[in-house]
């Protein structure tokens, strides 16, 4: 069952990647990036289960934090670029 879940999430990453490549605006790319980060958290969690390595969950925590910071930075940049 874990393999089916991995397959579905990989497919989701593929779909998000199409949006990342296609755009059309920078904001679309940012949320696609954000979604890929979140999907990576899910994939890491399921991999930790398959390989019986709970240590990998620490990487998921870090990824959750980093992804958030990246998105916030992009949002800040977008709003500054929109200008007063």
């Amino acid at each position: 069952m874990a393999w089916i879940a991995l397959l579905m999430m990989s497919l989701a990453i593929g779909l998000a990647f199409i949006r990342l490549a296609y755009g059309p605006t920078l904001s679309d790319r940012v949320i696609a990036m954000d979604l890929i980060g979140t999907l990576a958290i899910g994939i890491i969690a399921v991999y930790a289960m398959v390989w019986n390595l709970p240590v990998l969950l620490d990487a998921a925590i870090v990824l959750a934090l980093i992804g958030f910071l990246g998105t916030i930075a992009f949002a800040y940049y977008l709003e500054r670029r929109a200008g007063p």
Partner: protein, 200 residues
């Protein structure tokens, strides 16, 4: 038993993740895409983390899983709000099927502050007026529908204030009491006619 439960939870989570992927690809504009991905993916992560916790059945995994769930639940809405707000200022278009844009005209594009427009600027011919209902008023103890304010005076009741309590956009079956205040909208002439009737 535990394996089945954890497998089902992980499958549900992965299904939601896949839906998020479909949503970001298929939705017509940025804002609906965000709506699809943020909601769906938050639920997906929660479900997967629960499944993984059940599989391992250890305290250490549970705390890590809770940390991830808490982080995602806290950060996803904040990030989505910031991206949505920034994109709105950047002029990312709404899809053609959008019915109502409640933000339209309410953002000050210089200061990026949100405020409502004074009515005088929006429509100079209309006024909003507060009229108290006196004890001898003909409409006290009637329901809003029975007063027929709209039919007789062409004014609309925006709200009924009762002490410190406000009934916004009241229905016709709201019963008016002496001492209530009506918030009315209309032209100045219509309002003065209505106020005479309300005050008795």
């Amino acid at each position: 038993m535990r394996e089945i439960l954890s497998g089902v939870l992980i499958l549900i989570g992965a299904l939601f993740m896949l839906l998020g992927g479909v949503g970001i690809l298929r939705m017509p504009d940025l804002y609906t895409r965000m709506s699809a991905t943020t909601k769906v993916v938050t639920l997906g992560i929660g479900s997967i983390m629960l499944g993984v916790t059940i599989h391992f059945g250890e305290l250490g995994v549970l705390t890590r899983a809770l940390a991830v769930i808490a982080l995602v639940l806290l950060t996803t809405p904040v990030a989505a709000h910031m991206i949505g707000r920034a994109s709105y200022f950047a002029g990312v278009p709404l899809c053609k099927e959008t019915v109502v844009n409640e933000l339209h005209g309410h953002y000050d594009l210089r200061t990026h502050e949100l405020e409502s427009i004074p009515l005088a600027e929006l429509e100079p011919q209309l006024l909003i007026m507060r009229v108290p209902i006196s004890h001898w008023s003909a409409i006290a103890e009637k329901t809003l529908a029975e007063t027929e304010l709209r039919r007789h005076y062409k004014v609309t009741v925006l709200a009924v204030r009762r002490g410190s309590y406000v009934i916004p956009n009241p229905d016709g079956d709201v019963r008016l009491l002496a001492g209530d205040e009506l918030i009315l909208i209309g032209t100045p002439e219509q309002l003065s006619e209505a106020a005479k009737a309300v005050q008795g």
